[in-house]
Symmetry: C2
Subunit: 344 residues, 2 copies
Amino acid sequence: MLEKSDRTTLKILADQLGFSVSTVSRVLNGKAANYRISKDTETTILSAAKELNFVPNQLARGLRLQKTLTIGLIIPDISNPFFSSIARSIEIEARKLNYSIMLCDSHESTYYEIDGLKQLLSRKVDGLIISPVGENDDHLKQIPENGMPLVVIDRQFPKLNCSKVISDNYHGAIEAVEYLIEHGHKKIACIQGLLKSSVNQDRVRGYIDAHKRHNIPIDSSLLVGNSFGEQNGYLGAKLLLSKTTRPTAIFALSNLISLGAMRAINEEGLKIPEDVSLLSFDENPYSDFLATPLTTIAQQNNNLGKMAMKILYEQICSPETYKPIKVKLPTKLIKRKSVQQINN
Amino acid sequence: MLEKSDRTTLKILADQLGFSVSTVSRVLNGKAANYRISKDTETTILSAAKELNFVPNQLARGLRLQKTLTIGLIIPDISNPFFSSIARSIEIEARKLNYSIMLCDSHESTYYEIDGLKQLLSRKVDGLIISPVGENDDHLKQIPENGMPLVVIDRQFPKLNCSKVISDNYHGAIEAVEYLIEHGHKKIACIQGLLKSSVNQDRVRGYIDAHKRHNIPIDSSLLVGNSFGEQNGYLGAKLLLSKTTRPTAIFALSNLISLGAMRAINEEGLKIPEDVSLLSFDENPYSDFLATPLTTIAQQNNNLGKMAMKILYEQICSPETYKPIKVKLPTKLIKRKSVQQINN
DNA sequence: ATTTTCAGGACAAACGATTGCGCATCATAA
DNA sequence: TTATGATGCGCAATCGTTTGTCCTGAAAAT
């Protein structure tokens, strides 16, 4: 009689069947034919493995094979819908490819990012998908240098030698601001996110270039903020709304920023879009249902995750021949009610 | 000269220093004193390890120590803000305790839940936090039976022999429905979630008991729906609103359900709360900013995650003496504008 | 001058899997 | 009868750590 247990190992299985560990291993890995193992033996082992609910120890397997079928994911804030939707699409794609995910939340802090990175490396993940905090990439450079497959998403560093999957933030911002300009706005404020991040820089560049294209002077006092969080949106909007001549429109560079801005606008007793127009980066499930349905620049969240995982997988499969690629996904302006046409 | 590499192992370190692997290992684990290793040797090894950027291989370590400092997390939908905020608080707490997290998204499907479970077990996680899909717990029973620490959150099974951290869904629902009743509502509809889940059953029980308490007959045609997703909210609301005598209030049993319901209400050209009141389980960052600020039953998401992780840790630390506990966190009614007082 | 004692560290097994070789056994051919 | 080749499977090393036990030389005790 076979003894059932959670801790069934190859050895236990082999002992109970009277075969050697190697034979059992070979059968279980579908290599019976290669090693001339008889059909009889094969079926015996296979059925016993099923009956005993044998599950190979992936630690041992990983140690021996030097691969873990695990990838590491580092993102700045899993509770942010933008990142959690990306995480989800990565998870789905990873599972299809038989990979599991180790998750680290960097809390928008490079310190935690570094710490998480260390954890993941010590656990010998086969590859990494990172949405970097974005201040600094010194700690990231060693990753490709050591041959560890890496795909960076959302935020990038120009000099980092790895694949990148990002949104076309520059053109997204251009489209957003031009839309505002077309609606007669000239005093367009921008509440920006983390200054050093590429996302922010690209969006701000779009903001500025759109002004230039239309020969609208830029009032640098209308460019405020320094973080993608809600607090910053709130503070930024407060600041903007307290100016003697208020901006007619606010361009919020993230979903959390616009949430904070809405709180401030509310508090000031102002109405969107009558008193101030609002246009925000990032589409949300609730954008349609807000007090004023929000006009947004939507990113392809699902595709961001899916492509990142696919690209990472390519690299894992053929590390030598692999060349880093960069994919830039277009954004889409979703028009709703938060931008008003104004007179000149 | 010491050679630097990403793949520094104990052996490499030992060879370069002229010590044995065991000595190096002991020093690095702070056991120098126990084995009478000289201060000199200790500092030499320590500084070399730092210089070579030695990071122990956690696979090997896990194999030897039979513990991985990793916990598995299975949740139904990481892109749902409710779960992603829980995931975040778990991550934070886990990191404090020096644990990493393997994430599985079950996509609200028991099939994927089982698959994820298998992956996590094969990777030898030290413990599991699961928010079960909730249809069935056959696959979960084996976990505590095999001595694997397990904490279940949000959704529970009465007969499952493990710790549980849940919200007080019953009283939450009671409070919600009584609030509606106090506002004069008698025709209160309820769009429910996954029928078999404990969360749903507790909330529905609260819904029913609140009616009984106030001697209000229950119209079973007002109890619709069968999933926590948005589609179900939309469909449920459509159905309810098409009735010849519409309900005056809708109690949505999840954030996604209320989102769907709002879409339906919108589509029907109705206003909240003038035409129909809406009260929803789950607080959201955007609840305040909706067309009609939403009255909600807030759960303690952060505490759910934090406590789950703490309890799991307790069990991991002392598996023998450990007794499963159940914590039930109170909910809180957050009053906004989506419930209207009506005349009788 | 022996025997103890202790500092300082090395050896080797073990964790659970994979895999290059090698070793029987048996039938067939020379 | 003896090579010759299939056939069918086991041995043992290996991945990188940890840890119980053992070894060596020198100082201290007798």
